[in-house]
């Protein structure tokens, strides 16, 4: 499903070149849930940006579902992203001028789904995250957990094959995180999407099929995760 | 800020500048005002089309007191010494020049279109320009004042008429008026005004006209054209009023009239002259002009006329008269003028000292010249003799 080979990305900061990812390789199977852990600044977000085509790599390739994302140019990259990838951010990134259902529907409309079908699908996915009743609320009136659930709904409403989550619980208290996490996991599974979570929340990592650790630009398999996988 | 001239003066100056480009004459030499030539750079021989003073002619009076339009230039020159009733003393100069712009036969430009019923040619078109100088020497107050007028000879603004004599510019005039009609005796009125002074005088000739030079033909240089017709009335009785700052003073005295006309100019080597018109108290009078050359020497064409007490006249040649300068005066600009003379005429046994009544009697016109009242004292045949007169000094001021 997701195949990454020799991926490298470095940033120039002042006069210094900061190598964030170096010859990173990775394979994720369809439906697999993978957690990537690492310290702040280890390059976790960069990895997600490269996979989704938001950022471009210096070297190496990313294949998503057989398409080489790194070889795509704009606007093909955007079109691929909006059709095949969903995104959940640490800070929710809902659009404040739109209400709850509009935030969700926006993605469908960008994928060409309009009118009643768009409305129904949006409401259905909101139902699934338990927020159908708040469909017409202003987003800044929602709690953090609710906002993140809207974000999850938005990320999955168009049924992407791959869901990328960047610290989805990082901005939530422990209690709320515990409420949001199952929604994320079950919804991903029910829609058959592959999930790649970047986090340093151990609880979240524990829920993944596989845990990888990003250190010095490369991924390292964690023993604990292997155990979890075998289980 | 740039200083913009005004139209009124600039137009005249433009004319001046257009002229100076062509005047290839060394400075300070030919700029000669006064009785001999018009104030201007006139160095050319007489213009074609004008009559010239080439030979002796008969003089007919009173007709010849009037203008001679066939000649290019002409002047009426009156100078005199006056005594007021309270003993104050004045000198005056009032002189009129006539300059012809075109010879008599040459037509003036006329407008191209002729509209019947409308007057098309402007009355301002003129063939002549008139210039007048008026100076007053107020001895008691130590003041010398002068003024100048220029007019075109058109519209009655300025002009000259012969019989009876009337020469005028604006409200300055010589002759004319009712006084002329006084039966028999010739009388001329004289009127002029300037800041602070005015004169209202009546002149009565005491002698017949005296013809200068060769029976009135006065040669100023070797060139035949540099000659003019020249007569004087050396003694005119003057009565009238001097108005000083609006207050009238009754005056009487003696004046001198010089009349000259011609179409030529000075010789090119001449730089100026000293002119003496002295009235002596025995009834005689002496006129002499000493022409100066560029090299400082006296020109041999210098000449004069002696009028005896009994009316006999005798021409004086250059060699007859010896003049030495006894004093000098310097004006504020640094020009040096003679200011005292010793004149000897051995053939007449005449020995005179001449002294200005005021040192500064210079007219700051363009060009500048000195014309002032003088006192005379000396002797003839060992008899003491006094007198008064006028002296004109031309060519001393540096041109700038």
């Amino acid at each position: 499903m997701l195949s990454i080979r020799q991926l490298s990305r470095s940033f120039r900061e002042g006069g210094r070149v900061h190598r964030v990812l170096e010859d990173l390789g990775m394979q994720v199977a369809r439906g697999e849930r993978v957690a990537v852990m690492g310290r702040s600044g280890s390059g976790k977000s960069t990895l997600l940006n490269l996979i989704s085509g938001i950022d471009t790599a210096d070297r190496g390739s990313v294949h998503v579902d057989g398409t080489e994302v790194t070889a795509l140019r704009e606007p093909a990259r955007t079109l691929f992203r909006r059709a095949h990838i969903g995104f959940v951010y640490q800070f929710f990134n809902l659009i404040p001028t739109l209400d709850v259902v509009e935030n969700v529907r926006l993605v469908l409309e960008l994928n060409g789904v309009r009118g009643a079908s768009a409305r129904e699908r949006s409401l259905a996915v909101l139902e699934a995250v338990g927020l159908r009743a708040r469909a017409h609320s202003a987003v800044d009136l929602l709690s953090g957990g609710e906002q993140q659930r809207v974000a999850i709904a938005r990320a999955l409403v168009h049924e992407p094959q791959l869901l990328l989550a960047d610290e989805p619980t990082g901005n939530l208290d422990e209690q709320t995180a515990r409420e949001v996490l199952p929604v994320l996991l079950s919804l991903t599974r029910s829609r058959g999407a592959t999930l790649l979570i970047v986090t340093h929340d151990e609880a979240l990592a524990a829920a993944a099929d596989r845990v990888l650790e990003l250190r010095e630009g490369r991924l390292h398999e964690r023993a604990a995760s292997r155990a979890a996988a075998s289980r | 800020m740039r200083c913009a001239r005004s139209l009124h003066s600039s137009a005249a100056l433009a004319v001046v500048l257009a002229g100076s480009a062509q005047a290839a004459v060394p400075p300070g030499t030919s700029v000669v005002p006064g009785p001999w030539v018009p104030p201007g750079k006139v160095t050319a021989p007489a213009a074609p089309g004008f009559a010239e003073a080439l030979s002796v002619r008969p003089f007919v009076f009173p007709r010849d007191h009037g203008p001679h339009p066939a000649f290019r230039q002409e002047w009426w020159y009156v100078t005199g010494n006056l005594d007021a009733a309270d003993g104050e003393r004045f000198g005056f100069e009032l002189t009129f020049f006539r300059f012809a712009l075109v010879p008599p036969e040459v037509p003036l430009p006329a407008p191209a279109r002729e509209e019947p019923g409308t007057q098309v040619a402007s009355a301002w078109r003129s063939r002549e320009i008139y210039l007048a100088h008026f100076a007053v020497t107020d001895v008691a107050r130590g003041r010398f004042r002068f003024a100048q007028k220029l007019e075109r000879g058109a519209l009655g603004l300025a002009g000259a008429l012969g019989e009876p004599l009337h020469v005028w510019i604006d409200d300055w005039s010589l002759g004319g008026g009712e006084a002329v009609a006084a039966a028999g005796a010739m009388r001329w009125r004289l009127h002029a005004t300037q800041q602070g002074y005015a004169i209202e005088l009546e002149l009565a000739p005491q002698t017949p006209p005296v013809l200068n030079g060769e029976n009135g033909l006065s040669r100023k240089a070797d060139e035949p054209s540099a000659a003019s017709y020249y007569y004087s009335i050396p003694r005119l009785d003057v009565r009238g009023r001097v108005l000083r700052d609006g207050r009238a003073l009754t005056v009487s005295g003696t004046a001198w009239l010089d009349r000259e006309w011609g179409s030529g100019a000075l010789g090119v080597q001449q730089s100026g002259w000293d002119w003496f018109a002295l009235q002596l108290n025995d009834g005689s009078a002496l006129m002499f002009y000493a022409l100066r050359r560029r090299d400082g020497s006296r020109d041999r064409h210098s000449a004069g006329t002696w009028l005896g007490a009994s009316g006999e006249t005798r021409p004086l040649a250059d060699v007859d008269v010896a003049i030495s300068v006894t004093r000098e005066w310097r004006n504020a600009r640094g020009d040096r003028y003679p200011a005292g003379w010793h004149i000897r005429v051995p053939s007449l046994a005449l020995d005179l000292g001449v002294r200005p009544v005021l040192p500064d009697q210079e007219l700051g016109t363009t060009p500048r010249y000195w014309e002032g009242a003088v006192d005379v004292s000396g002797q003839r045949d060992a008899r003491t003799l006094g007198g008064r007169g006028y002296v004109e000094l031309v060519g001393y001021a540096a041109e700038r």
């Binding site: 960069t46 940006n49 938001i54 704009e74 079109l79 992203r81 951010y89 800070f91 990134n93 659009i95 001028t97 739109l98 509009e102 926006l106 409309e109 994928n111 309009r114 009118g115 | 913009a4 001239r5 005004s6 139209l7 003066s9 600039s10 005249a12 100056l13 433009a14 004319v15 001046v16 500048l17 257009a18 002229g19 062509q22 005047a23 018009p38 201007g40 006139v42 300059f99 712009l101 003036l108 430009p109 407008p111 191209a112 509209e115 019923g117 409308t118 402007s122 301002w124 078109r125 320009i129 220029l150 075109r152 519209l155 009655g156 604006d170 409200d171 300037q194 800041q195 016109t365 363009t366």
Partner: protein, 845 residues
Amino acid sequence: MSALRAASLRHLWRHPAQLLLALVGLALGVGTIVAVDIATASARRAFELSLAAVNGAATQQIVGGPRGIDERLYVQLRTQPPEPLLRLAPVVSGYATVGKRVMQLIGIDPFASAALDAGGAGGTAFAVEGVGEVRAWFTAPGSVVMSAATAQQLHIGADGHFALEVGGVTHPATLIGRIADAGPGFDGLIVTDIAQAQEWLGATGRLSRIDLHVAADAAGAALLARLRALLPAGLTLHPTRAAGRETFAMTDAFTTNLRAMSLLALLVGTLLIYGAVSFAVLQRRTTIGVLRALGATRREVLALVLGEAAVLGLAGAICGMLLGLVIGRGLVGLVSRTINDLYFVVAVNEVSVPLTSLLKALAAGLATALAAALVPALEVAASAPQLALARSVLERRAQHVARRLVLVSLSLALGAGVAVSASTHSLLAGFVALFLLLLSVAAVTPAALRALAHGGAWLVAHTSTVARLALADIATSLSRTGVAIAALGMALAAMIGVAIMVGSFRESLRQWLLESMRADIYVSAPGVSDSLERRLDPQVIAALLAVPGIRAHSEGRRVTVDSASGPLDLNAVSLVPASYAGFRFTRGDPARAWAQFRAGAILISEPLAWRLSLAPDDRLSLDTAAGPRAFTVAGVYREYGNDRGEVLMDLREYRQWWSDDGIAALGIYLAPGVSSAAAAGALRAAGHGRQALLIRSNADIRELSMRIFERTFVITRVLYWLAAGVAAVGLVSALLAWELERARELALLRSLGLTPAGTALLVMGQTAFMGVAALLAAIPAGLLTALTLTDVINRRAFGWQIGLHLGAEQFTNALWLALAAALAAGVYPAWRSARLALAAGLREE
């Protein structure tokens, strides 16, 4: 405090684009004021210099009626002066055409003029050093002098020969000298001898005036009294300066209008500075909050913000001055052309930059910036020390302000109404009303935009979330863009207003021309109207009228006469029955008015009636050749040809009172079936070889009038485009700032799948919507502005009544401006958002 300053400077430094655009806006505003100042000052200075050159030391002048003064009066004053040392000089003046250029022709007597200047007959420095050249001046045919610069402009060759045309007749002329040290006052002046001038101008026996120098003391006053007593009837003696002032005052309404237009540009600039400063404050709310929390006093914060504004104002003023110098140079030509078209001949060859206008610019820039910054400065200083305000709070506050501004707008409009209705003649009140109205537009525009955006968002809510998002964003952006939109709305309203006014005026003029041009062909002597030389040769008239096919003809003479109310244009006409229909009375009963007119009463045009507050049956005193005489006003008629107004009088009446039998123009009425072109040809042939004539059909004259009309409004157009330019710059600046601020939101949309092209489209669509919304708000306001311009400003400035005529073309300029400004404002942000580095844009706060 220096740390505060450093922070403030660094902030400005880090937002160079915004800073630059605010500066450009202010500089354009200040520059326009300076430019108009320079243009009018240059025209005035040229006029004064020319006056000073022509008048010299003259303090007073004796003037006569249209026929001038009998030259014998001058001779009398010379030879029998009322005072011995009277300084006086005769002048004959008129106009001559050399090539295509109209020149002032002045005839003088060099002796009298030099004596007048040099102090009379006293010790003058006057020199005639070349009798030869004096001879040329007096006796060479056609001798003239002029300044070297003018000679060069006329391309006069070394031999000095050139042709000069006066009143349709060509004369050979010779330049015999160039005026030394001639200042710019001599530009466009040809000086010749008085005799020559009289002959050329056909004014033999007459003088235009007699210049006098009279001391300004008691003796001088006594002399003037004596002189006045001595003057024949019909002649007046008045101070030279007053005469000049009176002449230049003709342009007052025109220059006032220009000034008002330039103020408009500054007003727009003020709004921009306000926008820039409040935006800068808004962006730094957090910083300022921290500063306040750390102990900076309100006073210090206030000083900080105002200090920035002062720096901005100073910089803007200096740039504005420089810009003004550049624009001013361009405007000088336009202003002088309009003055030449409408008022009097003046050659403006030098640009004069009055120090006062530079100081004014400095003060305007500073005051504008400080005034604009005061509100945000007070607001931020007054707010409690808090770290940050939620964005929605700010937006809500902006919306609240927008709502309050609607009330402000209403009261401004009310104020405009009061200003108009409380005064009847005051032009100032008219302009106050106009500005209040425009400010009212500015105040209401943000609210209008908000309402439109909300309405639009509601409409598309169910069809396109992206569109709804775009519209909702606009509605909430008002805290950033409101001021710029307001400025644009105001500029657009002004633009529409002026366009409607010009269009209506054009239409009124066109109709009036159609109505009033009753004759088929008009014949006149070329030259400047109102001048002595503009007369038809009587023989030529006879020859012209002998041309077959003429049914009737009217005769006309247009002159300037003196009156107690200053010089007035008098149009003396002999009308034929067909002429009467050409007059549309605005006051007075036509039948009665015409009867009175034929009996010696006068008719006056609308502008004159307005200016002198005259109504039918009032009396107007005119200085005739026989002294002042009161004429009865029989009626008021519509006339757009002369903004000072005119007096219409029967030609016989005029001849009787002014003893002037000249005829300047003929109106030829053709018999039925005679072609206008054929008749014009025959007339031309009849006049050929005698006098150059202007023979024009009524259609030609209409076209010419319309052309002059268009030229007159070029400068107005230039000024409103400048104001519009300021507004456009402001909009670009504000939208740029706004778009930059929401880079994050755009990055999010991009990450959600909006393509680069889609993003660019979104941004452009938003800015275009803003432009269109401002336009929509400006249209009703523009109509109101047009009404104010036609019914208040034009009426008060000139007395014209103009019917409102609407046409689509009056709105096109505004539409283009709105779209162009909005799209131009959108291009850079759109381009930027399309190329957004998403990763950086999305980086968490």
